[in-house]
């Protein structure tokens, strides 16, 4: 190890040679080489983390560049892990960098995570976040959690004992993931490039503090940061008991992580329980997209009749309701209608399709 490279942090009171050696011995895995992962990786590599792993299966695109600052315009189309590893290795040739150009799944995550001591979650979807949380809890790996939304960020450390000797995980705060489309992601909602820069850098700082036992890392705490006001609010996390966390590998492999993240399309398939709830909303329109001759005939006061053949004209004319529920005989045409409405309205309306249609929920529509 070249002491000169790290001289400014070695001479720092409260850090020093011992802490530097701890960084050198540490094995840190950064999941997601995106807006959070890029700045985190840069500072972790520069600080001298001895073994740095990078997970990402994505390639670089032009719209990444305003926040994913390891990449240049010439890198578009290349694998993020490859470009990141090359650049980081140039920054610091003294450390070991391993790339995992794959998408983490139940089948591979335990193997990969078990090779590291600290996990930094900089992913961009709930599916990955719950998968990583549960895997870290099962393997008892400290997890540095970083996430952004709008102009705000969240930062926390899970599975790391604090001075009260308790550990917590993400499910202690949010037992189950939000429904499809409930929380918009960056691709839908937009993000100022500097925000993940700040939160990702803070995540790197927490990782270094945790490894070197410096200061007060956010173990069992979640920090909410607001870029617009610089207001910060820390919440102490206590253990909850109203959730399922896999306690064995077999239980983990039986968990369901798919389909819990944001919907790939901006509409949601619902059942009649959800439909009943939706009907209590103020701004809702229920649209029956079947042709006019189809039976059973529904109450036209409640269900607006817009056959598929007239859907485009109806959309062009426009309507004010924010929630749109589409209904047909079997729930197939209503999905097609939902896609059409989604293309037209994007996120300005919430669109639902009744799964299984009137045939499946006949008793709901035909009350004796």
């Amino acid at each position: 190890m070249s002491a000169e490279r790290y001289n400014r942090q070695i001479i720092l009171k409260g850090f020093g040679e011992v802490a530097q050696q701890q960084l050198l011995k540490a094995k840190v895995l950064v999941i997601g080489a995106g807006g959070l992962g890029c700045p985190a990786l840069q500072y972790l590599a520069a600080a001298g983390i001895g073994h740095l792993g990078i997970v990402d299966d994505d390639t670089i695109s032009l719209s990444n560049l305003h926040r994913q600052i390891l990449f240049t315009t010439a890198d578009i189309g290349k694998l993020k892990t490859e470009v990141a590893a090359k650049r980081l290795q140039e920054m610091n040739p003294q450390i070991g960098i391993v790339t995992h150009p794959i998408r983490l799944q139940k089948s591979n995550i335990l193997d990969i995570l078990s090779r590291y001591d600290y996990i930094l979650d900089g992913t961009d979807n709930f599916e990955s976040r719950y998968l990583i949380n549960d895997a870290c809890a099962l393997l008892n790996k400290p997890l540095i959690f970083a996430a952004v939304s709008g102009f705000e960020g969240q930062l926390a450390i899970f599975n790391a004992t604090d001075n009260l000797a308790i550990t917590t995980n993400y499910r202690d705060i949010f037992p189950v993931p939000p429904g499809k489309g409930e929380i918009p992601n960056c691709a839908e909602n937009g993000v100022l490039g500097v925000l993940p820069g700040i939160i990702g850098t803070m995540a790197a700082a927490e990782t270094i503090k945790l490894i070197t036992k410096t200061g007060e890392p956010l173990s069992n705490k979640i920090l909410n940061y607001n870029l617009l006001t610089h207001q910060q609010y820390i919440i102490n996390i206590s253990q909850g008991n109203n959730y399922v966390l896999p306690k064995t590998v077999a239980e983990f492999l039986n968990m369901e992580y798919q389909d819990t993240c944001e919907a790939p399309y901006g509409y949601e398939e619902i059942d009649t329980t959800a439909l009943t709830k939706l009907r209590q909303q103020e701004s809702v329109i229920l649209i029956d997209v079947r042709e006019k001759h189809e039976v059973p005939i529904l109450d036209k006061q409640v269900f607006t009749q817009v056959p598929m053949s007239e859907l485009n004209a109806f959309i062009t004319k426009g309507f004010s309701q924010k929630h749109v529920v589409l209904i047909c005989q079997h729930g197939i045409r209503s999905v097609a209608a939902a896609e059409t409405l989604q293309e037209k309205f994007g996120n300005s309306k919430k669109i639902y399709s009744l799964k299984g249609g009137i045939v499946k929920w006949r008793d709901y529509f035909i009350r004796p």
Binding site: N125, A147, V148, E152, P178, G179, I183, N224
Partner: protein, 77 residues
């Protein structure tokens, strides 16, 4: 009885930071019902309360001048 409300993320779009009078409401379970009727957008959303910086895991007593934070989950990166 007055309390201060702090909210984050998407919830801050419809509940601004404010002091509100919650009259006879004495605990977090009843406050949840009250807030969901005041702000119907909250219904069906995932969020968690924190009372005076402590995550609320069970129904908790509320006192005058307490600070209630309402936090949704973030996933962006």
């Amino acid at each position: 009885m007055k309390i201060e409300i702090i909210s984050f993320g998407k919830i801050a779009e419809f509940i601004s930071n404010q002091k509100i009078d919650i009259a006879e409401i004495a605990d977090t379970d009843n406050l949840k019902i009250h807030l969901e009727s005041l702000f119907p957008e909250l219904r069906g959303m995932k969020y968690k309360f924190a009372l005076n910086n402590q995550l609320v895991q069970v129904n908790s007593r509320i006192n005058h001048n307490d600070i209630l934070a309402i936090m949704p989950p973030f996933s962006g990166g």
